[in-house]
Subunit: 361 residues, 2 copies
């Protein structure tokens, strides 16, 4: 409930009380169509309908439905009425539909309007609740899911590419308060890498019903330099990613999060093999959630489009220059651990966590 108010407020839509009614949340002055679209994107919302609130007497309902039909229906199209009653009214739903339906037909008789109960072009919905009725014709499908944060907290290893925002969003939808952690690997990546992450994070922020929400940035340029200098070239990526896992888990413990979420998908790149993921997991002190693990790339792209991150994530950026020509696809844990012995893993990780800075979104 307060998530709806908060999201409307953050989008600059003035709304009044949010009242819990049987099977619905009623948002006073909900901001019309734009408000409904915002509400539909609040996790937990199955759908949102911008409705007119009127008195529940037959005359008021008839007038409102006729006006709505006149406004929204094209000539030579079909309509149906859906009526639902809660509480007591001096009519049945069926009686109401007959009276109102006939009034619409009569009022729009010049427009070639017909009734079609099975596949109407327009459906006008009437919900009578006690002395009040709600009339609407537009149903905006909601994101569904569970209220933001209701399941606890996880840390997203967030790059701003196509996959990590989708993974973060999916966990948000299942009720996680997702904290975005971005690894600033400059000078091994370009400035545009960071800029992209920020832009994508701002888009995700539009799903978050909180007053403040941030991109958390951890500088790992120095760590990268150590790894590149000391680790065998083919193990650079694994060493780097294991540091990310460690830093993510350390920070998660610090902020009370119960897991990591990553955009990894099995076999999508050479390093995302079962063998390598097992080596990565070994460095994680918390569960690692990978909602895209079983997906095809096109499915991730489809979701990125749906949640509005795709076009922000897709532009090419100057990616990691430390990427070796042949990263190991079937590394051995022992080799990775030996490589890690050449630099002080724990110290580097905890220093990095201490230096995490917060960019308000």
């Amino acid at each position: 409930m307060c998530h709806i108010r908060k999201r409307l407020e953050l989008e600059g839509v003035q709304a009044g009380k949010v009242v819990k009614a049987q099977g619905r949340l009623l948002v006073e002055g909900g901001g019309g169509v734009r408000g409904a679209e915002i509400i539909a994107n609040v996790f937990g919302a199955a759908s949102a309908m911008p409705a007119l609130r009127i008195d529940a007497d037959v005359a008021s309902i008839t007038r409102t439905v006729v006006d709505m039909a006149a406004e929204v229906m094209e000539p030579e199209t079909t309509f149906a009425l859906a009526a639902r009653r809660i509480g007591s009214q001096p009519y049945t739903s069926k009686e109401l539909k007959v009276v109102v339906g006939n009034a619409v037909l009569k009022a729009l008789s010049g427009k070639g309007i017909r009734v079609d109960l099975t596949n109407p072009d327009t459906t006008i919905y009437i919900e009578a609740r006690g002395q009040t009725a709600y009339v609407y014709h537009r149903v905006v499908r909601g994101v569904a899911g569970l209220p933001f944060g209701s399941q606890g907290k996880v840390v997203s290893l967030f790059s701003g590419g196509i996959d990590s925002p989708v993974a973060a969003w999916l966990m948000m939808r299942r009720g996680c308060a997702v904290r975005l952690l971005f690894f600033d690997q400059r000078p091994f990546v370009g400035e545009d890498y960071y800029a992209r992450a920020l832009t994508v994070a701002r888009r995700l922020r539009q799903y978050v019903p909180l007053d403040t929400y941030s991109l958390h940035v951890v500088s790992t340029g120095e760590i990268m330099r150590e790894i590149v200098e000391k680790a065998p070239s083919k193990l650079i990526c694994l060493c780097c990613k294991r540091m990310m896992y460690r830093i993510g888990c350390m920070w998660a413990e610090k902020i009370g999060a119960d897991g990591l979420v990553t955009g990894e998908s099995l076999g999508q790149v050479a390093s995302q093999t079962l063998v390598n993921l097992r080596i990565l997991d070994e460095a994680a002190a918390l569960p690692v959630y990978r909602p895209l693990i079983g997906w095809e790339k096109l499915e991730s792209v489809g979701w990125a489009e749906k949640i509005g991150t795709y076009e922000l994530s897709a532009p090419a950026v100057h990616g990691c220059t430390a990427l070796p020509r042949k990263p190991s696809a079937q590394a051995r844990l022992g080799d990775v651990k030996s490589a890690e012995e050449t630099f002080n893993v724990q110290k580097l990780a905890s220093e990095a966590v201490r230096g995490i800075r917060q960019i308000p979104l």
Copy 2:
């Protein structure tokens, strides 16, 4: 390639050689439409087309396309031709389309057939490859993904309900040789529980390009009895699931698998909270893959329908009678570990693994 032959063979379709050609695999005598449907369900296949193989001269192609059009096109409908050439032929694709298209129009002039290049009812495809041409009008969309087993092996904690088969299938699609491990908890579940698992496993087996494939069954009735007797009632589910994770991991190590796959989805049932999943993970010596972790129930149902397991998984069965009235949703690891100290976890798990039996599917 051999997966295609194997799957056709398992379905009783005689096929000849499978030849790798530029951008295609050509399956001789591929079994027509049924064969194409089988091939489309082989992991790695983007699409499958039952085609006629003919000589690549204009006369043969024209005759074949005209016959095909006469057979498949309804009166008063539209068509387009798509032509593609590999190697050298004495015509361009464009010339071919003009000649063949005109022949179709002429031959079917009584049928009211028209050309529509943007949105045709029927498209007939011509692929000339050297001296041979392939003609087809039906494209069966494939499951895509990566060849079965190409990424390694994982163990599915397989119940036969709606979720675990979808999770197993998704990992198969990403190239995992998924081994199905079923926990036979009788007498705490009904006989129908086992029967359902077997039926669903048989359906999944239809995606597996192997001569032999099994449901692996581990009896955990005795372990359940210990847990029910000794653990606090609200921790029964966590203790039980942790035993499953342990048994799954032990068996995985034994058979060279690199992880578990489960159907868990965050917040779907009271026990699948972040806190509880973290407690479960603590008992796993290998990565636990949860492809459905970020999904809504309806999405899992949609996939189950798509892969053909839904109607087999959906029937109600006699589920676990040990399920307490109030399973803990926010348990503490310490409490679970204390509970586990009352029975010999390692011994019970390794005995169970030793007793795993194999039901050929």
